[in-house]
Amino acid sequence: VKRIALLGMPNTGKSTLFNRMTGARARVGNWPGVTVDLLGARLLLGAQMVQLVDLPGIYDLGGHSEDERVVMDFLRNNRVDLALVMANAAHVERQSALLAELLRLKIPLVLVLNMADEAAQLGIRIDARRLGARLGMPVCLISAKHGQSMRELDSLLRAAMEAAPAPASMLDANEIDAAVQENVSIPAQASHALSGRIDSLLLHRRLGLPLFFGAMFLLFEAVFLLGKPVQDAIAWGFVQFRADLLDPSLSAWPPLARGLLLDGVYSGLATVGSFVPLIVLFFLAMALLEDTGYLSRAAFLMDALMSRLGLDGRSFVMVLMGFGCNVPAIMGTRVMRSRGLRLLTMLVIPLSLCSARLQVFLFLIAALFPAHIAPLVLFSLYLVSIGTALLTSALFRRRFVNVEPLVLEMPPYRFPTMRHILLRSWQEVRHFLKRASAFIVAGVVLVWILTTFPEQAAQGGAGTWAAQIGDWLQPLLSPLGIDPRLTIALIFGLVAKEVVIGALVVIYGQEGGSLAAAIAQHIDWVQAYSFMLFALIYTPCLSTIATLRAEARDRAFTALAVIWPLCLAWSVSFLFYQGARLVAAS
């Protein structure tokens, strides 16, 4: 199978074109010599099956960034029959250096000038045929977003694949510049007037930040308004499926095998499944922010504060996303080029008080605090969440150094296309399912084993290995006011934080209001707050750990991301609990 590589600068619409050409058939895969997964897909060009690979966006082949090294490694270790070079038609004039470098690779090239619609709006005129003749390679002008001239591109690629054109002539950057200047006419005052007007409002010195926070708040509300019912419906579906189909049909099985299958594997799958709607919606929101061009504006507004913490403006957006769900936020850090910056951001994100933890806190706060101070308690937990995030990044900024100069393109505001956004979210969800499901199921099975064995012990009760671990941990956790029962709940919480409530149901043998009453009888508010602090900060949930592991590809880092919050959680709870006891005693 012949192979076509898709190359170009960031923000040229590479992935839009890739999605348009391949639809939902794309798969992430490993490639020789390359450490990251790349999207690839097979497609029919005329009668020929070819493979199209989407390479990361690069500014040049200098190897200064991780992405540049990925592209170079890929080209060195994999045969490429044709390179499809994407450039933004509105700024062809500054993309000549990359083109000159690609010419030196002696791979047949096709130059695709994208965003023909925007270029036309700016009054930019391009003579693609003459430009192609000068450059010695086929050139075509398209709009990947609107699917304009896709047929022309198709026939161009078909011809290029069949004729296998000899490596194009060796022009240098200056000659390419000259060719571009002859065939591209840019009006003197080309600017995106509407974008400029929107910017003068959204990036306003005083209004910019409030508008940003308002927009993020609304986005959040929308995600939960839409996501929660869907999530509940899926959870209900899993429960019903089990009650109606699995329980009856497996009733003849030995209890242990049934337990392993239902409480272990099936609950694991249900955990993964319940994450899907939130991930879909958060990726829809992220894709919307990115495609409209607002993400770089948010980074612009927040960078002043974040740069002092060793992060940058984009980190802030990701941390904010983490308040919904840590998993998509961690996946979103892929836009960062500096590995140090990316790891630091990934270390900070799990400290965001996600929606799963929110459920636990809402329950406990309602159980132990009078209604009029409940909102304050919750707000204080959000403050702790942000405080630990700031502390973590301040402490680790020297270990994960951000070497990336923040130089970002501010694209004009654009209307996103539904098709592209949906395809992208779908790809991310599939990526998450593929990467995380085995890991999460294994984790749930482990917790099931811990709370089931030895056989004579009651499920989740005293005498199980989990309870034994709870007892061993008492010297460590009793200074925090966390008793053995709560410890077992925390062990369950390793799987997913929302499981903590379910665990308390099993442990106390009570549900809903009576559970709240039972808990209120056993612990006081100081213990409850200490427990919530611990539950807020201690290790990320299994889905988050799985994502961290997959994204960082570094065991030591993943271990740090698990152990550091654990130590921090212990210290914060210890200080709070002992402090509160001291105050009460005096």
Binding site: Y59, D60, H64, E93, A97, D199, R206, L301, D303, L406
Partner: protein
């Protein structure tokens, strides 16, 4: 030949010290290799026209326009860029 400038020597200044709304021509880019290439790839090269659109609040990054491209960069990076300022025509300063 630009007669409007003949009256005054062009003011030289680094990009990070410009006022929002001012415009000029890039005289030099004194950056390390990686940054130099990155800036060049985004159109920030010697001889190009540049306009400082705005600064982010609290000493944040700068928003500049180069031809048809708009980029943001931090003051630290902007310090590497020398600009020959246009004399401001009356009434155009924001």
């Amino acid at each position: 030949v630009q007669p409007s400038r003949a009256s005054a020597e062009p003011l030289k200044s680094t990009l990070d010290t410009l006022l929002a709304g001012s415009e000029g021509t890039i005289l030099s880019v004194d950056a390390g290799e990686a940054l130099y290439h990155r800036l060049a790839a985004l159109g920030l090269r010697v001889g190009k026209r540049i306009r400082l659109l705005r600064r982010a609040p609290f000493g944040g990054p700068l928003h500049v326009r180069l031809g048809t491209t708009e980029i943001m960069l931090r003051a630290g990076e902007a310090r590497c860029v020398q600009v020959a300022l246009d004399p401001a025509p009356p009434g155009e300063r924001r």
